[in-house]
Each structure stands twice: as C-alpha cells, then as structure tokens.
Amino acid sequence: MLIRRPSDILPSEITPRRFYERRRELMKLAAAGSILGAAGVLARSARAQEKTLGLQKLENVAKSPLSTKEPLTAYKHVTSYNNYYEFGTEKEAPEVYGKRLKVRPWSIVVEGEVAKPRSFAIEELLNFPLEERIYRLRCVEAWSMVIPWVGFEFNRIAKLVEPTANAKFVEFVTAYQPETMPGVRLPVLDWPYTEGLRIDEAMHPLTLLAVGLYGEMLPNQNGAPIRLVVPWKYGFKSGKSIVRIRFVEKQPKTAWERANPNEYGFYSNVNPAVDHPRWSQKRERRIPDFFARRETVLFNGYGDQVASLYAGMDLKKFF
C-alpha cells in the first residue's frame, strides 16, 4: 500500500470546506459557465507526451529527495512563457529573441567578502556533481509551474570561496549584452538586473544554481547557461544568466526594489497573506490551467524547510 508522506499533501490540494459544501452548485456553475475552459483542459491533457529542444543531455544526474512529486509542467510551456525582460516584456519574447544570447565563453566572478575570490568557468561548473530538483515555481503574477531543474546547491560555491564573517548578504548580477538583448534599449529596469539574498537564505540547501532543465542544458530563455533558483520566493528572485556573485555586508538593492519599492520588497517570499498592490496573492493558476483554483501556500509550500529562517520576523513589514 502506498502511503503518502503528510508533507506531500499540500494544504492547497485539500478541498476547502466552502467548496465542498457548495459542490453541487459549483458544478452547475462550472458546467454552465465554463464549457470553453473545461474543453480546453481536456484537449491539453490529451497530449501530455514531452518534446524538448534536444539540447545537450546532462550526464550522471542524481535524483533528489527534495523534489516534489507533483505532475511536471510541459517543457514547451516552461520554455515559451517566460519573464526575461532583457529580451522584451512579452512572455514569448525570450523564446524568440533569447536565441541570440551569447552563452560561450562564460564565467562567473565570485568576489567581495570572501577569503578566496575567484572566477569559475562554466565548463568547471558543469562538472560539479549535478542533481535533478523538481521544484514548484510561483510567479508574483499569480501563476505557477512545476519544473525539473538540474543543478547544484549554491552553498557548494560558497564553500570554495570561503565567505568572511562580514558576508551578511549575497548579490547576484546577471548578464548585460546590449548587442544580443533588444529589451535593454528601453529603461524598463535599471540594467543589469540584479538580485539578492540574505546569507542564510543563499546557503540554504534548497537554493540552487541550475544549469539544466528536463535533463538537458538550460535553454537561453530560461536563463542559460546558469541561473539561480529559490523555490520559496517569487520567481523574479531567481536571477537568470548569472555573471557575478558578490558577498557583501550591507543588504543590496535589487532591480525590482529600485524600480518600484512599494511593490517589490527584498525578501519577496511567497505569502498569500501579504497582498501585492497589483495582484491578489491568495490563489494561483497552475500553467496551463484555465482556472486559478489553487490556494497559494506560505513559502510556496516549502515552509517545513525554510520557515525557521524568518522566526520572529514580521513578514508583512519585511515583504
């Protein structure tokens, strides 16, 4: 008999009582008002087989107990619906224009409050022991996906450069290639895009540097050749195409904080109780569903692992 671990049953998977009690009524409503949507969902689930871009396969990828067992979001959706503003603000722009991104030669400079600053060539990073991590990704725009990343924990890099006692935060600087990125001609954000984490967040075993997707090299639109993945925070915290990592003493200002400090905080943990001025964060739509029928879970369902990082903090103040 298969008994699921309790942590596998997300609070979002349990039918809320008010839905349960009104189920007949809701079913009628759904039948009447959403024939379109229902039919679309059926049409989608009928073609679930996976087709990838056929990028270079990554070898010797270990499975991880930290992966979720939820059904994966189709590769074509993960690679065609992206926020990568350097290529344009439309969701399909990164797939179209991202092809131009120059991903070789590539290296990451690691500097700042570390005993051994150095740079890592991408070839070296690809030789780190890799594992597959299937994570939920929750975008601040109230949609979510389930993505099989391939990568390694960020703390592996940290151990090699030996952060000093002054290293309280980590800043991530992403690629800025005006010759390949049509989006940076507009001052949409203060380029290059930067992100930041507190040192304990960065060192957390869930924080990943991803080099692959679905067992293959990362496609450009998803942040090739190497990107950050922080699954309990809104997607924009997971910077793409990282070129520089700085260990710093003071909390760095992130690109979105510089653009709109009232809407985007430094922490940006997934939190249904902290309303974003633009989107209600109560529920979310699992791509490619029509209906946003999932209730959003604090820390994107990773509370068991990360809640202790924020013990005693007012998450409404530090949003």
């Binding site: 679309g40 949609w143 029509f290």
Partner: protein
C-alpha cells in the same frame, strides 16, 4: 466618398462578421487548438478581449472626426455597432476575470475592485457602458429624446480614458502599448475639443456674418 444605402448595408454585414473573428479565434483555441493560446490561455483570453474592447471604443470614437474631416457621412451608420462590440468584448473580458482568475469568489472580487486602482477604473468603465448599451436602440433614442440621449452618450468621453488608464496601470513596467492607445485617444478627443472651441468662437460673434455653424451631434 459617398455610398448608396445598399452598399452601406453590405459593408455593415461585412464589418459585423469581421468583428467576430477575434472571438472565433479564442473559442477555437480554447476548444481545439491549445497552442494558439499558449501556456496561459486564460490570461490570453483576458488580454485579447481587453485589447479588442479598447480598439472598438477608439473606432467608435473615430467615427465623428473621420466623418467631418472626410465628409463620409455614412460612417455614422457604423457607430452603434462599433460601440456595442466594445461592450460585447468588455463583458467577455470581465467574465474571464470573474471565472478564470477568481473562480466566482464574489468576496475576493469585490475586495479586488476596491483595493486595486486598475481594477477599480476598469470596472467603473464597464459599469458606465451598461446604460449606453441599453439605450442603443432607435426605440430608446425616441423614448428618452435625442437631446438627453446625446448627453447620456457623452459618457463615452469618461469611459474611454478610464479604459486606457486601466490598461496603463495594469502593465507592470513597460507602458509602450498603453501609450499608443492613449495617443490615439488624445487625438480623437483633442479633435473634439478644438472643434468645440472653434464653434464657441463663432457663436461669440467674432464672425457675425460667417457661415452658420449647425449644431451637430458630436458624441
């Protein structure tokens, strides 16, 4: 360019059918061709119907300036249809938000309308369109009188800017697209303002023997 009543009727039938193409595409995508609507079909439907609402609103507002500038008076025969299509797409737009985004959770929706300025203005614009749609028939024009009907339908001068503002505030960062709609709207409303000032100057008697300015419905 003048058109015979027969050609106008034929052209109206053509416009009527073409105005349904965006909806047909969404329906076909939702039912049979999921790739047409991409990874987030609900968002695609909401965005697309919102875009078409604004486009039909601007088209309806373009009738008077074009008619006067080009002398194509038959254009007036298209205005009601364009306005009603704007309302039609706005209703689908709202339904998509109510069903797909909020799964009919009324309390959530009300909170959203009150809390988020871009939803507040969008919802206001849609509510203001209702009386215009209801009074769009010839019968209603006769019933409430041409003059009152005209003043009522000047509401469109509030509705259209609210609609564009709704789009502007919805956009996360890159306002290029809403700026294009805003520019077109500014031209269409600016034309009316200039025309009105010109008429006022005539009436003020600066040109006592000038050509009589006939009062024209300028909604």
């Amino acid at each position: 360019m003048s058109l015979s009543p027969k050609s106008v009727s034929a052209l109206k039938a053509i416009v009527f059918v073409f105005a349904l193409v965006p909806l047909a595409r969404l329906a076909a995508g939702a039912l049979f061709f999921p790739d047409w609507l991409g990874a987030n079909p609900a968002e695609f439907i909401t965005r697309s119907t919102g875009d078409w609402t604004l486009r039909f609103l601007l088209a309806a507002l373009a009738v008077t300036p074009l008619r006067k500038l080009l002398g194509w008076h038959w254009l007036l025969r298209f205005r009601r249809m364009l306005g009603l299509y704007a309302f039609f797409y706005a209703v689908i737009h709202l339904s998509s938000y109510v069903s797909f985004d909020h799964v009919f959770e009324l309390a959530e929706i009300l909170a959203d309308i009150v809390k988020r300025p871009f939803i507040t203005v969008g919802f206001t614009a849609l509510v203001l369109m209702i009386p215009l749609a209801v009074t769009s028939t010839d019968k209603m024009v006769r019933r409430i009188g041409a003059k009152q009907w005209l003043s009522l339908h000047r509401l469109v001068y509030v509705i259209a800017p609210l609609g564009v503002l709704h789009f502007w505030w919805m956009v996360k960062k890159d306002v290029t697209e809403p700026a294009i709609y805003a520019a077109v709207l500014a031209v269409l409303l600016g034309y009316r303002l200039v025309a009105k000032l010109a008429r006022r100057r005539h009436r003020a008697g600066r040109l006592p023997h000038g050509p009589a300015v006939e009062p024209r419905p300028n909604a």
